[in-house]
């Protein structure tokens, strides 16, 4: 088929581009899209052109030139992209908040970024070839060599903290070294090491540790103070030594139980039903107990840290009284424990068989109270807690009602009260 070869094609701007008449036409002035369009159009013509068309060879040569120009443009674009990427990564390397070092087996600096140079307090060019050990405090020299030995002997990251003399003044800072071996194309090994100044972090950790220790001391001393006071109260109650020991053990166990429960949560709130179950369990070995709090798994009442120990000791004292005042003839009758809720109010009722309350007993006024009930009155918060005692049909019932602000309804992180 005879083809009419175009003398020109047109670029986007409508400029005529000579294909045949101008063999030195500067195709590099065209965009890649324009060159591609020429190729596509020409390809269509070549497909239908006669093989022996004399114009075809010339036209074909032009097309090769166009193709080469496209490849050239692609190469230039790739090179530009690579240079931009290289510059970007060089910036990331140089201006990283961490110092980067490349070390050989002897700890000689092969390469480093600007941050590392700043940390070491010299210009980068003056640090190349210098041993890193010369910037460490003498006590850390051995540690660096050991760090390098471990780094070069395994493929995993090796971490250590060393004291580095930083800046021009040589201020000693604690620096974490994270090192990993790399192997170059010739099989040579070097160590890539990241330097992170952890002085401030370590100072904060130390301060936090000291605060925690002080807090633990504070709590331990407070608990010891409370226990000493409880022991002293027993002395005033004319109790037998065995009874004093038993009572004190239960009180200490109760306090320990609260802290055991608090340790399960971050903010130390204790679920009321969990606390009750733990306190009552202390008596389960010696006395039959009929408890229905086990159905209280949906209990929404939580005790804050400051209320947990006092309320737990109140529950312990109520249980202790219930066991103590049960007549021997009713030793097989269980202590009744029931926890119920009415909206935001939780009601704990403990009942025991009894010969009855003393005639002069009045919990409200404090008349006729033993040491235990006196303790109860002192432990109960003035707001949000109410304790009453009553008797009916040979049973004595103590009823503890708890509500906000003693109780939080729902977990404190989403508390309502």
């Amino acid at each position: 088929m005879n083809v009419t070869w175009p003398s020109y094609c047109f670029n986007k701007a409508g400029d005529a581009i000579a294909l045949k008449e101008d063999p030195v036409y500067r195709y590099d002035k065209l965009s890649r899209a324009e060159l591609t369009r020429i190729l596509v159009e020409a390809h269509n013509l070549l497909q239908v052109a006669e093989e022996d068309d004399p114009q075809r060879m010339l036209y074909d040569l032009h097309l090769h030139k166009v193709e080469l120009e496209i490849q050239n443009q692609d190469l230039r674009d790739s090179r530009l992209a690579l240079e931009e990427a290289r510059d970007r990564y060089a910036d990331l390397y140089d201006f990283s908040p961490a110092g980067y070092l490349t070390l050989d087996k002897k700890g000689i600096i092969q390469n480093l970024n600007l941050t590392a140079a700043t940390m070491l307090g010299r210009e980068r060019s003056r640090l190349l070839g210098k041993p890193l050990v010369s910037f460490l405090t003498p006590a850390c020299h051995g540690a660096l060599y050991e760090h390098l030995r471990r780094a070069f002997s395994n493929d995993d990251q090796t971490t250590g903290i060393l004291e580095l003399r930083c800046g021009r003044e040589g201020t000693v800072r604690e620096i974490r070294l994270d090192s990993r071996v790399q192997i170059d194309s010739q099989g040579g090994k070097s160590c890539l090491t990241i330097l992170v100044d952890v002085s401030e972090q370590r100072r904060k950790e130390q301060a936090l540790r000291e605060t925690l220790i002080r807090e633990v001391h504070h709590r331990i001393k407070n608990h010891l103070q409370g226990v000493m006071g409880l022991l002293n109260m027993c002395r005033r109650d004319d109790m037998e030594p065995d009874a004093i020991v038993d009572k004190t053990i239960r009180q200490v166990s109760t306090i320990a139980t609260v802290y055991g429960l608090q340790s399960h949560t971050n903010e130390n709130p204790v679920r009321l039903s969990d606390l009750l179950r733990a306190c009552v369990d202390l008596y389960g070995y010696t006395s039959p107990i009929d408890a229905n709090y086990l159905q209280m798994d949906d209990c929404r009442g939580y005790l804050a840290q400051e209320n947990s120990v006092p309320i737990a000791l109140v529950i312990n004292e109520l249980m202790s009284n219930a066991v103590k005042h049960r007549p021997e003839t009713a030793a097989d009758q269980p202590i009744q424990v029931k926890l119920s809720s009415d909206g935001n109010r939780y009601r704990l009722r403990i009942g025991n068989p009894s010969v009855g309350l003393p005639p002069d007993f009045d919990f409200g006024s404090g008349a006729g109270l033993g040491m235990g009930l006196e303790l109860l009155r002192a432990l109960l918060p003035t707001q949000g807690a109410d304790l009453s005692l009553s008797q009916k049909d040979g049973m004595v019932y103590s009823e503890l009602v708890l509500e906000p602000p003693v109780l939080w309804i729902d977990h404190p992180q989403g508390r309502q009260c």
Binding site: N222, L224, Q225, M228, V309, P310, L313, A378
Partner: protein, 126 residues
């Protein structure tokens, strides 16, 4: 004589009060600094026994208030045995500093001695 015991730990208040009551002191308690100041306004005690570390208004803040607004003497019953805290207590005008844990007898003895010293200092001959 009236003693005000101030501590955020109610167990300590509950356990230390009976010993003082048994020695015929009238004891009132407060489980926070604000409540302590309120009690001092309403019924000033003869001596306040303050815990140093409490959430919110702490013992030192109560001590400052007492010094500025009353003549109520005070001593600290604190878990801290740091010299710095003892110095701060002395500078605040505390008449005593007890490090927890103390026996009820130690507390009683310190309270009696503090009251006696204050009485002697305030007497015309003191």
């Amino acid at each position: 004589m009236k003693i005000l015991l101030v501590d955020d730990d109610r167990l300590i208040l509950a356990a230390m009060s009976p010993g003082l009551r048994a020695a015929n002191f009238e004891v009132t308690t407060a489980s926070g600094g604000d409540a302590a100041i309120e009690l001092c306004k309403q019924a000033p005690p003869d001596l306040a026994v303050l815990d140093m570390r409490m959430p919110g208004t702490d013992g030192m803040a109560v001590a400052c208030w007492l010094r500025e607004h009353s003549r109520i003497p005070f001593l600290f019953l604190s878990a801290s045995s740091e010299t710095e805290m003892m110095d701060r207590a002395a500078k605040a005008g505390a008449v005593g500093y007890l490090v927890k844990p103390v026996t009820p007898a130690q507390l009683l003895e310190t309270v009696r001695a503090a009251l006696k010293n204050v009485a002697e200092q305030r007497s015309p001959d003191g």
